[in-house]
C-alpha cells in the first residue's frame, strides 16, 4: 500500500468515524440546548434504535422484501427505528426528566444516569447478553479514490448524516417550531408568555434528538454488522465529548466536534502507538476547552453583566 493511498484511506476512515460521532452528538446537543441536561441515556437510545432496526430489517428480509424493494425497505427500517426511539425519548422525558424540571440540574443528571443504567440492563435482559448479527444489506461494493477504498455503505452513511445535520440546522434556524425551540432554550418563561407551548417544544426536542440517535444506531448496526446491549456506552461518551468540544447546544458544533474526535482517534492510531489514542482524544478535548472554554463554535456567552 502506497503512502498516499494509506493517508487517504485513513482520512476516509476518520471522516466516517467522525460522522458517526457527530450524529450521536446531535442528540446530546439538542437536549442540552433546550433543558441544559446531559442526557446520559442518549447512548441507550442509540442502542435501542439499532435493535429495532435489526428487528424490522430481519422481518423484512424474511419476507423477501429487502431484495425486491431495497430503497423502500431501508426507508421503513429507518422510519420504524426512529419512530420507536422517539416514543422512548418522549416516555423517558415524561417519566424521568419532566418532574425534575424545577429541581437542581444534578438531580436531573442523576435521573438520566439511572435511566441509562436501567435501559441498558433492560435491553440486556430483553435482547440477550451477546452481540447480534445484522443482516448484510449494505454489500461490500465500493469505489477507489486515490488508491483508497470507499464502500457504498460508507458513502451512504456519510451522506445521510450530512443530510440529517443540514436538515436539522435548517429546521432550527428557519422553521417556526425550530425558532420556538431556540427561544425556549434561551428563556423558558418568556417563551411561555409569547404563547409557545413549552411542554410541547421540549417534547419535540425529545422526539428529534433520540430519533437522530436511532438513525445513527441503525447505520452503525448496518455498517459494522452487529448490535449489543452496551454498545451505546463508549460512543455515547465520545459523542458527548464531541458535543462539548464543538460547543454544546450548537448543532454545527456537534458536527465539527464529532469530526475532530474521529480525526484525532484515527490519525493517532494510524501513525503513533495506538493504545494512547483515547488518551490523546481526551487531551485534545481538554486543550481545546482550556483555550476556548465554550467549545470551538460555542456561542460566545454574551458579556456577563456584572
Amino acid at each position: 500500500m502506497e503512502t498516499q493511498a494509506f493517508l487517504v484511506q485513513q482520512i476516509v476512515n476518520a471522516l466516517f468515524l467522525g460522522s458517526i460521532y457527530a450524529l450521536i452528538a446531535l442528540g446530546y446537543t439538542m437536549v442540552y440546548g433546550i433543558i441544559q441536561l446531559i442526557n446520559f441515556a442518549h447512548g441507550e437510545m442509540f442502542t435501542a434504535g439499532s435493535f429495532i432496526g435489526l428487528i424490522v430489517l430481519g422481518a423484512l428480509q424474511r419476507m423477501g422484501f429487502v431484495e425486491s424493494h431495497f430503497v423502500l425497505s431501508m426507508f421503513v427500517v429507518f422510519a420504524m427505528a426512529m419512530a420507536y426511539v422517539a416514543f422512548l425519548g418522549v416516555a423517558i422525558e415524561h417519566v424521568a426528566y419532566k418532574p425534575l424540571r424545577r429541581a437542581s440540574r444534578l438531580s436531573a443528571l442523576l435521573s438520566a444516569l439511572g435511566m441509562s443504567i436501567f435501559l441498558s440492563n433492560g435491553m440486556m435482559l430483553s435482547q440477550g447478553v451477546s452481540d447480534r448479527a445484522y443482516p448484510p444489506v449494505l454489500g461490500t461494493g465500493g469505489i477507489h479514490v486515490l488508491g483508497a477504498r470507499i464502500t457504498y455503505g460508507q458513502i451512504f452513511i456519510v451522506a445521510f448524516a450530512v443530510a440529517l445535520m443540514v436538515g436539522l440546522n435548517l429546521f432550527v434556524k428557519k422553521t417556526k417550531l425550530g425558532k420556538a425551540m431556540r427561544a425556549t432554550a434561551q428563556n423558558r418563561r418568556m417563551a411561555g408568555l409569547l404563547g409557545i407551548n413549552i411542554d410541547k417544544t421540549i417534547r419535540t426536542t425529545f422526539v428529534i434528538g433520540p430519533a437522530l440517535g436511532a438513525a445513527a444506531g441503525v447505520m452503525v448496526g448496518m455498517y459494522y454488522g452487529s448490535v449489543r446491549f452496551d454498545m451505546g456506552f463508549i460512543p455515547g461518551i465520545k459523542a458527548f465529548a464531541a458535543a462539548v468540544l464543538g460547543g454544546i447546544g450548537n448543532i454545527t458544533g456537534a458536527m465539527v466536534g464529532g469530526m475532530l474526535i474521529g480525526m484525532v482517534e484515527v490519525l493517532w492510531a494510524a501513525f503513533l502507538p495506538s493504545e494512547w489514542k483515547d488518551v490523546t482524544a481526551f487531551i485534545v478535548l481538554i486543550l481545546v476547552l482550556y483555550f476556548r472554554p465554550t467549545g470551538i463554535l460555542g456561542e460566545r456567552v454574551i458579556e456577563e453583566r456584572v
Binding site: Q10, D131, G225, R228, P235, V266, A269, E275
Partner: protein, 378 residues
C-alpha cells in the same frame, strides 16, 4: 436526620442478619461470574454450565448424603471489590465449593478469602499465571493457562503455517495482554518469525479501521487478534472489507459461535486456539442437555469449562463422601477427571495440562485443524 440514619441502619442490619441464616442439608455450590456488564455473556454461560452439571448429577440420583444440590449465583462484575464481597457472601452462606471467577482481576482478589476459609475454588476461565502462581492450596483452574495457549499458537505458526511475519493486536486487558506477551516472548526466543507490529485497541470500540489500515500497509503474513469475541468479530469483518490478505489468528475467548455468526464470511479461514474437543460421551451428553435446558443451538466455550469444574467438585464430594476441604482437595488433585473438555489432571499448582489444538473456521463451523502435541493435521 441523625435519627433517620439510625433507624435506617438498624433496619438494614436486621435484614442482613436474617438474610444470612443458613438453610437445611444441601450441597451448595457458589458461582462467581459477571452477570452484568460487558462480559455478561460469558458469565451467563458459566452459570448455565454449572447448572447443567448439577441437573445431570441430580437426574442421575444426586449425591448420597445430600437432599439436594443448590447453585448460588454470584455476580462478580469483573471487579475486584465486588468479587470479594460475592466471595465472602458465598463463604457465609456456607457454600462447599465455588466455580469462578471469570476475569483474572476478579479471581485473584476473590481467591484470598476463599482460600483462607478453605473453600475449594475452581476457575473455569481465568488464565492469568498469577492465579495459580501464588500457591493457593484450594484453588484450581479448569482451563489451560495463557502460556500453554500461546505455546500452541506459536507452534502452529512456526511448524504448520510457516509464516515469516506476524502482527499482534490486543485490547489491553489482563487476559488479552497475557496472551500477546507470551506469544511475543516465545516468538522472539525462537527467532523464526518476525513480529512486525503490535497494536492495541480499546474494548467497546466498534471501528478498528485505523489500526487495520496501518497493518494493511505493513502487510504481515498473519494477524493475531487477542480480543474478546465482539471485538474479534468486528475486526475480522473490517479486515476483510479493507482487503487484508493476512491469516487471522485468535484465541479461545473468540471461540464462540457468535464469532462466526457476526463476522459471517469474514470469519472463514481464521485459526483459533481452543481445547481439543474430544468426541466423548461426556461431551455429547453435556451438549445435548445444555441445548435442551437453555434452548440454544450453540454453546459458548466457558460453559464447557464451567461444566467440567462443577462436575469435578460434585465427583470429588461423591468420592470423598464428605465436604471436608482437605479431603476434597486431595481427591481433586489425585484423580484424573474425564470431562467435556477432555481429561483433566491437576498438577501441584492446580493447573491442568495443556490440551490446546488449532481450529479453523470452515463453512461456518469450527473444525479441528492441527494438533500441536503431535504436529498432525486432523
Amino acid at each position: 436526620m441523625m435519627r433517620k440514619l439510625c433507624v435506617f441502619a438498624i433496619c438494614l442490619g436486621l435484614v442482613f442478619g436474617l438474610h444470612t441464616l443458613a438453610a437445611a442439608k444441601t450441597l451448595k455450590i457458589g458461582t462467581l461470574s459477571p452477570l452484568t456488564g460487558p462480559y455478561a455473556q460469558d458469565g451467563t454461560d458459566i452459570l448455565q454450565g454449572v447448572k447443567t452439571a448439577v441437573a445431570l448429577v441430580e437426574a442421575a440420583g444426586g449425591i448420597p448424603g445430600f437432599d439436594k444440590i443448590e447453585v448460588l449465583p454470584g455476580d462478580s462484575a469483573c471487579d475486584g471489590g465486588k468479587a470479594t464481597m460475592a466471595a465472602n457472601k458465598h463463604i457465609n452462606s456456607g457454600v462447599h465449593a465455588v466455580v469462578g471467577a471469570y476475569c483474572s482481576s476478579a479471581t485473584i482478589p476473590a481467591s484470598v478469602p476463599l482460600n483462607e476459609a478453605k473453600i475449594i475454588q475452581i476457575t473455569p476461565a481465568s488464565t492469568h499465571e498469577d492465579v495459580t502462581e501464588r500457591g493457593f492450596k484450594y484453588l484450581f483452574r479448569a482451563c489451560p493457562r495463557d502460556d500453554a495457549q500461546a505455546a500452541a499458537m506459536v507452534s502452529f505458526l512456526e511448524n504448520a503455517l510457516k509464516i515469516k511475519t506476524l502482527a499482534l493486536i490486543d485490547d489491553k486487558q489482563t487476559y488479552t495482554v497475557g496472551l500477546t506477551k507470551n506469544i511475543r516472548h516465545l516468538v522472539e526466543n525462537h527467532g523464526k518469525i518476525k513480529i512486525v507490529a503490535h497494536e492495541h485497541i480499546a474494548p467497546g470500540d466498534k471501528d478498528f479501521t485505523a489500526v487495520l489500515t496501518k497493518l494493511k500497509k505493513i502487510d504481515p503474513d498473519a494477524i493475531y487478534m487477542s480480543t474478546y469475541q465482539p471485538e474479534g468479530s468486528l475486526m475480522a469483518r473490517q479486515a476483510k472489507a479493507l482487503g487484508l490478505r493476512a491469516h487471522l489468528l485468535s484465541e479461545d475467548a473468540v471461540y464462540h459461535p457468535k464469532y462466526i455468526e457476526v463476522a459471517g464470511k469474514a470469519a472463514e479461514g481464521s485459526f483459533l486456539t481452543f481445547a481439543k474437543a474430544p468426541d466423548t460421551p461426556e461431551r455429547r451428553n453435556f451438549e445435548a442437555e445444555y441445548k435442551k435446558m437453555w434452548g440454544v443451538k450453540k454453546i459458548g466455550s466457558y460453559a464447557y469449562y464451567a461444566f467440567d469444574a462443577a462436575n469435578i467438585i460434585l465427583g470429588a464430594v461423591k468420592i470423598a463422601k464428605s465436604t471436608d476441604p482437605d479431603k476434597l482437595e486431595q481427591v481433586i488433585r489425585s484423580t484424573t477427571w474425564k470431562g467435556a473438555t477432555g481429561t483433566i489432571k491437576f498438577d501441584h499448582k492446580g493447573d491442568r495440562g495443556a490440551s490446546y489444538i488449532i481450529w479453523v473456521v470452515k463453512n461456518g463451523e469450527f473444525v479441528p485443524y492441527w494438533n500441536p502435541q503431535t504436529g498432525q493435521y486432523f
